[in-house]
Symmetry: C2
Subunit: 290 residues, 2 copies
């Protein structure tokens, strides 16, 4: 077993709990007491998910935001987080970013563990949330006839990454992504399926389509992008923007301004039709965990 996907598939076989959906980047959803607990755990490794030279405060922010974004896609509000931390070059900067992000997302620090080692840093964060609406939105609820929406533009993180690499320009969108907690909570009662866009719009949409057993017809021109028009195709494939992607019945009144970008159809061979063309499994459509 040498790939993340193979390991995740093997994990799935031993995860028999009905709420065990957090095996890739989805959340676990379980009844606890009279409420619903939403749980997610994401790791970030130096040299893989962040670079040795990056500001540890930005790394901490992103670690929090990517987990809180998973809660947002469930319409969950944060209960708190546990942090797994490897001591690094500037622990005080990491703590400053952590404190700032946790305050921003109203997520108290509940605990965690700290280790020291010689190799690069590995960070983990467990976010614990409380569902604000039942049923809790999943990726699996889209029905043929539903409309597909996104909360805002994609491509901003791509530009931010390029600015960071170049050492000039505005890199904020990449360094300090925004998890759309309030939008997720507002949308949860209205959606049939929802997820956050972390690995690229087209790839994440194909996951939603497969989980729901539909094909999603996406109109690329309708997708809001943060880039020049010439880079639309890239923006649809870049991750890290953390917009919410969701379906709702045609004609549903939604509580905030969002962008209609497609329609759910009965399942065809390909999960995605992009401007009428089926996107094949082998097309490069986003960031795959290999």
């Amino acid at each position: 077993m040498t790939s993340e996907l193979a390991f995740i598939a093997a994990l799935r076989r031993i995860a028999t709990h009905p709420g065990a959906r957090n095996l890739e980047d989805d959340c676990a959803v379980i009844d606890f007491g009279g409420e619903v607990l939403v749980l997610t755990h994401d790791m970030m490794a130096e040299g893989v998910h962040f670079l040795p030279g990056q500001d540890p405060a930005d790394v901490a922010w992103k670690l929090v935001a990517c987990n809180i974004s998973d809660l947002a896609a469930k319409g969950a509000e944060p209960v708190g987080v546990l942090v797994g931390y490897t001591l690094g070059a500037d622990d005080a900067r990491f703590l400053a970013g952590l404190e700032e992000a946790l305050a921003h997302y109203r997520a108290p620090l509940l605990g965690g563990d700290t280790i020291s080692r010689r190799d690069g840093q590995v960070l983990g964060l467990t976010a614990i949330g409380r569902a604000t609406h039942r049923p809790v939105p999943s990726r699996a609820g889209a029905k043929a006839g539903d409309r597909l929406y996104i909360t805002g533009p994609v491509g901003a993180a791509m530009l931010g990454f390029e600015a960071l690499q170049a050492g000039s320009g505005d890199s904020l969108a990449y360094r300090r992504p925004q998890a759309l907690l309030d939008a997720g909570i507002a949308l949860a009662p209205h959606v049939t399926a929802m997820m956050d866009v972390s690995d690229g719009l087209l790839l994440d949409a194909s996951r939603l389509a497969r989980a729901s057993g539909v094909t999603l017809a996406v109109a690329s021109a309708a997708v809001p992008i943060a880039t020049a028009e010439g880079r639309r195709a890239e923006a649809l494939r870049w991750g890290d923007d953390y917009q919410l992607l969701f379906t709702a019945p045609a004609g549903a009144e939604l509580p905030l301004p969002v962008h209609a970008i497609g329609t759910a159809l009965p399942a065809a061979a390909a999960p995605i039709l992009l401007d009428g063309q089926p996107l094949g499994e082998t097309d490069a459509i986003g960031y795959e965990h290999r």
Copy 2:
């Protein structure tokens, strides 16, 4: 900030939630849905907490057991776990050990994250539990006059570690520690303070004493040991046995056979009196996270 202890102290300053007690190896305890949620997160790194040559199934077992032991000390029953995994040399063996340990402790796998990287493995596990008794036992409840107890012998993991190093003899106690889940649940209604012994009896007892504001008088001869008498002093300082250490009022009827090993006294200068002698801060009394 270059030490684990300094980082933990800094974390504590930003952890303002009243349930945030899981900053070293204790659990977070929070009200949720009319019940009490108990949460803990422990990390293990290759080369620090386990050796590159160790059987990954044993590593998985220990990762589960050390976290479940934290739940046991709270009298909590497992709700499930989230696993943070770095791909390694034999992922199938890790999974086999994980599945075995989770079945043993009735802890469903709820999810997690998987990453691949070149450096050594770093593993994390978040255990989620449900308190079976309120108030949930903490380290802070021992009162002068209480008796101090331990559930079983210390020193078995030390012998197991030596056997593993030597390549002969019985290493099971080190490789497959037992978290005392049933004992913790049975004891929770009877104790004034409780914790698991992970870093050494004397060190962990000193933590319980400080948290409770008492001094614990320990009678070393009364401590059950799994070693020859000549190694008693070492056995009292070795960790990884995961016995439960607790206090209860004098005369309390306890639901299982345990070992009385001392008494809680009003706080003196030293947190521990070992056979009447104060143990100083600088004495080597167990595994300190530096």
